[in-house]
Symmetry: C3
Subunit: 194 residues, 3 copies
């Protein structure tokens, strides 16, 4: 029997990595076969093996066509892996850049992944801004400067996740990652795998 | 000449049934040929005739693939009926469950229905919460406990309706069902059929 | 090398025309080959050449099927023109009518255009309402009577733009057109063409 594919998204600084590490621990404890994959990692591996890039930053500089083809190929590989157990895919519903918000789960990608669920990890905007200020090293850190800007980004993130879900028929689960309660957030994700 | 297909959605407790009964009455008075179908009923009939389920609750327990195939088949049947008059389809843009918000009009369904219009019946969140508290028996009653939670659900509902409309090119009409004015809400829906 | 296709949308009264005129001026100064096309104009030309309409208002009265076919044909023509330089397409993410909000970038249109970017020009709702009151002649002027209604329309506009972007993989850039600063708004759009 095939496992489930759960896509987990969240704006940078929301604490997604902590929640996913906790989800892996809980799944193991419950005897659930689970692999957590990072979409960027899978794409980077593919791009390297095809001789397209040497470092990660070069992916964003490929032609948009090439990037989309890579994304769709990565999505198909990931979907295939779900035949031997459940998969959590760590990725983004949107990526904020100077060119605006890029959809992280555009039509060809979401169609290839056909996830069962899309989980949007959220947190208080104030807490996220504080966390970002402490950890200047967060990768893909968006340039939201104020809580108001971050609220706007979080709205776009929700709307993009819902659009992607309508395309593939997945449910969208909003999970609040409250300060010091990553375990609770993780258990809501793990319950989707049961 | 083919009739129109109007999809009507709204969160539980918004008073959709009252509005649709009123719409049927008004359409009859105006000599408009109109059938109101409930998407869940059509799916249940199909599922029973195929020996897949014996009661309605079993539908949600079918494999997701089977559910989506059923939905698309129901959508095609409904679209066919619009050749002999207009159809209002009573359904949901989202269904709130423990697994999150399921899209009620995902891509294959909305593509098969290709409605002319999607009507989102709305009401004051305070009034909906009060109505839900009075009528514990509302079917599919979502678990929103507070007005704030309901506002969030209503936002997701709007966004899902808009996503579905972008897929099929339908217009999205937001109709406010004010306390004691179901007739006015109904007349806005009936005017789409003229 | 092919140019870029940038779709620019905004609610009536947001000052889009001023911003686009300024963008043309800036692009010329920077030696960027740019054509600004109006989607309605292209559709009207097509419809006239096919003998379907004699004036612009008749387009909205064509059968919805015919309108969608026209839209998709216009989109394909526009996408072709981008082979000889960049194109800005002046259009709408939504069109507000008595029948609700029609999507301006529904699936077949956005798929044929496959833009690189969708720019949503925004402004303070208060400023837009004031501008609309002064200029009664704004074409396609929506019937939002209050700032609250306009805010709602602007939300629908954003959500429709995001849905369209998820379908085609374009980025969505929100550009604020502040009073007297159309040049700044324009420069953000022109920077997408570099």
């Amino acid at each position: 029997m095939a496992g489930k594919v759960v896509v987990v998204v969240g704006v940078p600084g929301v604490g997604k990595t902590t929640v996913l590490n906790e989800a892996v621990r809980q799944a193991k404890e419950a005897g659930i076969q689970l692999a957590v994959l990072n979409f960027g990692d899978v794409m980077f591996e593919l791009a390297t093996s095809q001789g397209l890039v040497e470092d990660r930053d070069q992916i964003r500089k490929l032609r948009v066509d090439t990037q989309i083809a890579l994304q769709a190929e990565a999505a198909r590989e990931i979907a295939k892996k779900a035949t031997s157990g459940s998969i959590i895919l760590d990725t983004h519903a949107i990526i904020k850049t100077n060119e605006g918000y890029w959809p992280g789960l555009p039509e060809p990608v979401i169609r290839a992944l056909h996830p069962n669920h899309i989980v949007v990890v959220e947190a208080d905007p104030e807490a996220i801004v504080a966390r970002r200020a402490k950890d200047q090293g967060i990768r893909n850190r968006s340039d939201d400067q104020t809580v108001e800007e971050l609220r706007f980004t979080m709205d776009v993130n929700r709307q993009a996740a819902i659009s992607s879900a309508v395309l593939c028929g997945a449910s969208v689960l909003f999970v609040k990652n409250e300060e010091g309660k990553a375990g609770e957030a993780a258990s809501r994700i793990v319950s989707l795998l049961k």
